[in-house]
Structures are given as structure tokens and as C-alpha cells.
Symmetry: C2
Subunit: 338 residues, 2 copies
């Protein structure tokens, strides 16, 4: 049966296989992460995901341990000119001002009402904390979520003129979907407020409330007119930033992630904790270097400063993702409904 | 085509359907919850699970909202003569005593070393807290888990002579499996320590670390010799008991459960919070009324006191589960490996 035709077929077959091999090892199907530019960054992500999810491979990781953590501000959505939650707090001060006549003469509320960013900044962290407590506490968890949803439905970003929930990053929506399709559990680990995030994380990112980790204020259980409620108190419970991120991850997840994605030095410890574990690990940082489509900032920025991360990414094997070069699209052109 | 035979078939068919209807509504397949006695308690549980998981039914609940919470001590495993975690702390005092010669003359350590329950009790909560801090802090999260696992592997219960992890309740293992098979996510919500529980919850109950909620001490992120660790500090972070349980549930899950199972007044608020939500809800309490096979205690017990729960279960529609009558088996005869 070894006819010349069969031999020819075999030869062509082997030739094709040899020609295909290096191509197959480096190319990625075009429909995977379509908003990511074809290049080493996308390649690195896809290789990692394939390695940990391919049964029998040396880098295989059981599904239960395929935990990915994403920072939110600057990593999943924009964070300039101010963190969106601060924009919420400032709008909330205006909404509550009629019941607080004393705010017209008391800092930081006076500055907030007058839009005086300089005076606000001069107040430092203490002023911000006062603002957050006055605008985030004093209601129940259910009331607060409704307030955030109402705000998100109407507020517009000063530069883009779009709802804040449309200023998410399209490549990251695709990456989270891709990870989930490959058996990952995707968590958000944010310095922002956990209940603020939960008001939109499921609808916008597909991340359910039990997979949202964030900063929080204390709550108190009360029965009001026979109906139990959780009342939000003006007292810090937990700050989920910098060295607080591994603490929050351990408290909520109880396992070490294998992939961490951040964008600022507030994410440094989260990437350090994640990538110090045994087996395959991937740490990534979004570098905001795209003044044209979004913003360009890093070492000198007061919002989302990235300095130590840039200095140490190379020696730690972390991937610095260039928004300008690695992302074909930044924000989605129209919000795809989930 | 309406032959006498067809008419007869139709008549028999209708007759069978009528005869089957009340039977189908009340009977439960024998292989469901085999360690639960056939009776109204088992019936109530099965009816609830069927109602919330049957598509198109009026009480249908989407899988994402099928959240069940279980207390641990006294609900999933025994808790007499002392909470098992206290037995761990007392054994730990003995193990650490050689490096703490001062403990032979300092309370509550002296009482712990001498097995003087009276002196320990006289010290009250403060003494217990001192014990916990001395025995649960000062190590890393990974070291602590290893210490707990070593203890569980060797320690034996004073009455039953068995490892503590064999003193789980067989009917509850079956119930958790049954809930998971019907799309529920099962959480543990315990007054016990979150890291203590995580050391065995996945292996023993099939509950992964991210679904364990408990009391905790603070941790601090540190880099030691280039290796990041979480150090356990002698400082209370959160007490997940009584009114703390709804707070812990909201912090970790961010949704209200539809089923809550407890056994003591420390679970009262958890059941209250759970069953106050809209739609179908189920609250259950294990009543330890089985002196022969386990223990009998309720209103007067210092461990697992159940008083308000017994008084109000009826008017709140909560199910009081009699260990003596509703459970065919209490502890598994041999640990089934997972």
C-alpha cells in the first residue's frame, strides 16, 4: 500500500508539520483577546493560561487554585483626573449639603462644594477620610448600594462625557472572560470601597459580590421596626491597599492567587505575594502611557503613582503592559450589555 | 380511534395520576439524606430545596442566590465538653510551656497547664482571650495551618476517643452534599477562628477556604529574607458571633443567604437576617437532645446555649431539628475519605 502518492502525501505532511511547529508555538488564535495587540505581551498571557489549564502539562494547576486578582482603579477602569469614587463623594457632598448648612464654612466640605481641589489636597488624607465618612456612612448597606447605582446612572466623566461604567478597559473585560473560560475564578482586590464596587462589579465585569475585596467601614446589625438592617458606621474597618492587599486576599480567599494584575505601587505587595508562590505565576502592571486615548502618567502622579513597580518589574519577571502599544482598544465603543 | 380500550387506558391513567398526586407531594426518595429520619423535618428540607431549584416554579431562586450558611460548633460537629478550638488552645499551652516558664505561676496559663477548669472559667472572657492570643498568634498563616493540622491528626476527644474531625455530623455532611448537588454554594459562618477552620474545612466538609467565614486576629504583611509572609498578631480583628454573623456574611458574601443552619443563640441573628429576606427562606436549629449518642443541653449550657432560639423558633417559622428523633446517625461510623 506504500504507493508513490502515499509517500508524497506523507512527505508533504511532515513538511507541513515541520513548517507549522514554530508557528503553532508562537501564534495565538485571532479570536482570543481581540483587543490586545499581537505581540509578546498577549503571547505571554496566553502561554501562561494554556500552561496552567492544560491537563498533564508540567505547569498544570488544578481549577480550584486558578485564582486571578485584579486591582480596579487604573487596572479595570480609568482613575483620572480623580478616583471615580472620590467624584462620587464630591457629588454626594453637594447632594447632602442642604441638610448640612455648616458645610459652607467647614473644611473639607467647603472645598468640596466650591470644587477647590487645592484646598482639598491641602487637607491630605484626613480631609479625604472626613469626606468619605460623611458621604458613605449613616445609611444601610441596601440604601448605600441604591445611592451608588443612581449616581452611576447619571454621572458623567469630565473628559470623556460618558458614564463612568463605560470607562472600563475593553482588553481587561476580554481577559477576565478568557480566564473564566479557562477555569479561573476572578476576584477584584481594590483600595476602593467594597460596597461601592459591588454596586456595579457583577453587571459591568461579571464579578459577583463574593469575589469583590475592598476597603470598608464598619457596619452594625440592628433590628429596625422588626426588620434587620446593617448600618454603615463612620469608622474605618479595613484599608485594602499596598500591604493591606495580601491581608485582604488571605482574609477573603484563603489561598494565594497565581495571577495578579495591577497598575500602581499600591499593587506592589499584591504582585509580590502572588508571584512569590511555588509553580507558575504571572504578575502584570498596566502602564498608562497613552495621553491620546486615555492618560499618560506614572512616577510623578498623585493618582495611581507607578515607580517601584517600573523599577523592579524586570528583575521580578512582571509584565509591564503598555496601554499605547499592547491595547488596540482602550474603552469599549459602546457598552456591551451582560 | 376512541376505542373502549383507549377509554379504559385513559381512565386508568387518570386514576393513577389522582392516586399518585398526594403521594408524590409528600414522599421523598429514600436515597436523599439517608441519615435523616423520614418525617416532617426531612420533608421540610427537601421541599424547600426542590422549590427553590425547580425552574419555572413560583419559589424558584437563581443558582447565584442559592447561598446556604452553616454554623460550625454544635451544628456541623460536636462542641462538648468544650469547643474543640479551646481544646486545641489548651494543648498548645502545654506544647509551648517549656519556652514560657512564667506560665507555671501566671493565670490563665497556670490553670490551663493544671487542667483547672474552675480557675479558667473564673477568668472569664479575658482569660480565654489571653489564651487564644498566646496560642494562635506569633506565627505565619502557613505555620499556623500546619500546627492545627498536626494537632487534628493526633488529638483525641475525651469522651469518644476519636479524632475531632470524626465528630462531625453525618446528616449534615449529607445535607451539604445535597445542597451542592442542587446548585447551592455552602458557606461556614462560625464564631471559631477562620484559619483554624480552613485547616480542615475543605477536606472534612468539602467547603473551600473562600467559603469559610469566622473570627480572626489581625495579620501583618512582612518580607522575611526576601520571602513575603503574613504574620499573625495578638490583636482581635473580628468576632464572628451573634450580631457579628450578619456583618461577616455581608463582608464576605455580599448577598443574603436563603438557608441558615445553627444550633445556639449565637446563631440567632444569622437566622433572623437570613429569614427576613424576600422569597423562600429556611432557618434551622440543631437541638442537642441526645444524651445517649452525643449530649443533651440547651437553656442552661455554658457551651452552645440555646434559649431564645427555642422560645422564638415557632413564631419565626424556624425548624428545630431534634438530634434524637430526626437523625438516624449522629457521627459517621468511619470517616469517608473525600
Amino acid at each position: 500500500m506504500d504507493t508513490p502518492i502515499l509517500r508524497l502525501n506523507r512527505f508533504i505532511g511532515i513538511g507541513l508539520a515541520l513548517a507549522t511547529l514554530p508557528f503553532a508555538a508562537s501564534a495565538v488564535a485571532a479570536d482570543v483577546l481581540p483587543s490586545w495587540s499581537d505581540g509578546p505581551t498577549r503571547q505571554r498571557i496566553v502561554s501562561f493560561v494554556q500552561a496552567v489549564s492544560t491537563g498533564g502539562g508540567k505547569d498544570y494547576v488544578a481549577p480550584a487554585d486558578r485564582v486571578a486578582v485584579f486591582d480596579n482603579d487604573g487596572t479595570l477602569w480609568s482613575e483620572q483626573p480623580v478616583y471615580f469614587q472620590l467624584a462620587f463623594a464630591l457629588d454626594r457632598v453637594k447632594a447632602l449639603a442642604p441638610s448640612h448648612p455648616e458645610w459652607t464654612t467647614t473644611q473639607p466640605f467647603k472645598a468640596a462644594l466650591e470644587g477647590d481641589a487645592g484646598a482639598l489636597a491641602a487637607g491630605g488624607e484626613h480631609a479625604l477620610l472626613d469626606l468619605v465618612m460623611a458621604t458613605h456612612a449613616g445609611n444601610t448597606t441596601e440604601e448605600f448600594q441604591a445611592i451608588v447605582r443612581d449616581w452611576l446612572a447619571t454621572a458623567r466623566h469630565p473628559k470623556f462625557g460618558r458614564p463612568y461604567t463605560e470607562l472600563v478597559f475593553q482588553p481587561q473585560l476580554e481577559l477576565m472572560d478568557y480566564l473564566r473560560a479557562n477555569g479561573f475564578k476572578v476576584y477584584i482586590v481594590s483600595g476602593g470601597g467594597i460596597e461601592f464596587l459591588r454596586a456595579f462589579a457583577e453587571q459591568v465585569y461579571g464579578v459577583p459580590p463574593e469575589q469583590v475585596i475592598g476597603s470598608s467601614i464598619k457596619t452594625r446589625y440592628e433590628v429596625r421596626d422588626g426588620k434587620p438592617v446593617l448600618v454603615r458606621l463612620p469608622e474605618v474597618n479595613f484599608i485594602d491597599d499596598s500591604a493591606g492587599k495580601p491581608v485582604g486576599i488571605n482574609q477573603h480567599i484563603g489561598r494565594r492567587p497565581i495571577l495578579a494584575f495591577g497598575n500602581s505601587d499600591g499593587d506592589f505587595e499584591m504582585l509580590e505575594w502572588t508571584t512569590a508562590g511555588a509553580g507558575p505565576r504571572l504578575g502584570l502592571l498596566v502602564h498608562h502611557d497613552d495621553a491620546e486615548r486615555e492618560y499618560a502618567y506614572d512616577r510623578k502622579s498623585s493618582v495611581g503613582r507607578l515607580e517601584r513597580g517600573l523599577d523592579e518589574a524586570g528583575k521580578r519577571g512582571w509584565v509591564v503592559v503598555s496601554m499605547k502599544n499592547d491595547w488596540r482598544v482602550v474603552h469599549p465603543t459602546a457598552r456591551s450589555p451582560r
